[in-house]
Amino acid sequence: MGNLVLNGSSSGQITVSPPAVAGTNTVTLPATTGTLLTTAGGQTIGGTETFSIINATTIQVGGNQAVNGPAFSAYQSTLQSISGGTWSKIALQSKTFDTNSNFDNTTNYRFTPTVAGYYQINAQFSTSNSASGGYAVGAAIYKNGSAYKLAITRPTSNTSGAFISDLIYFNGSTDYVELYGYADQGSAGVIGTAYNFMSGSMVRGA
């Protein structure tokens, strides 16, 4: 059988053309009303359909997808002293950006994404009083109030920092992360956007 041509109410028409290969292929239309596909744009494809897009100039995807998932970057902008030998939460009072308003920079200084998925989280703690000679400086990502991933360095200069990064799953409701810093010596954090910070972005949906 050749092509199936459907004539419109005016001069337009649609042609359904089967592939020139052996075998049986089936086109199944959904049992719902509405437009399945159009050249006008702005249409929504829901459910679990699988489809391919070839030679597309612009693709827009809704739902829990990394392409438009939350991203943030927060940093410390006010001096904070911590006790030596004590893992201390670092207050990150300022934000460079927070696309989904998921970072609390006023009360708990934590990132609580409201979209479930896997996030790349980066964090750094620096101190101006680390002192050289084997004293440790640490940065830790705390997840839901407990140490989750840690980085330790033993600096050779008096101003130094530790950096930590990991891929972390968030359930999109209650999971959160915070930055904790550690210094063997009593410490005052170095202030500035480049020193004490945490940032992150969704890289994969749940």
């Binding site: 006790s83 893992w87 201390s88 939460k89 904790y180």
Partner: protein, 58 residues
């Protein structure tokens, strides 16, 4: 005087390494009104000091 300083006054043989990332005494501060506190204590010989002991350190 910090919490670590008080503990070291009670157990004078402790060093900063006991409180370090590889140590057996973990102190923490969650940025709330609780301040510095003992998160965990797994030192092999010294028992965790009581609040009374810590409070009496001058």
């Amino acid at each position: 005087m910090t919490l670590r300083d008080k503990i070291c006054k009670i157990y004078t043989d402790l060093t900063f390494l006991d409180f370090g990332p590889d140590g057996t005494i973990v102190l923490q501060n969650d940025g709330d009104s609780k301040g510095d506190y003992i998160k965990s204590w797994t030192h092999p010989t010294h028992p965790q000091p009581s609040a009374e002991q810590l409070g009496s350190v001058q």
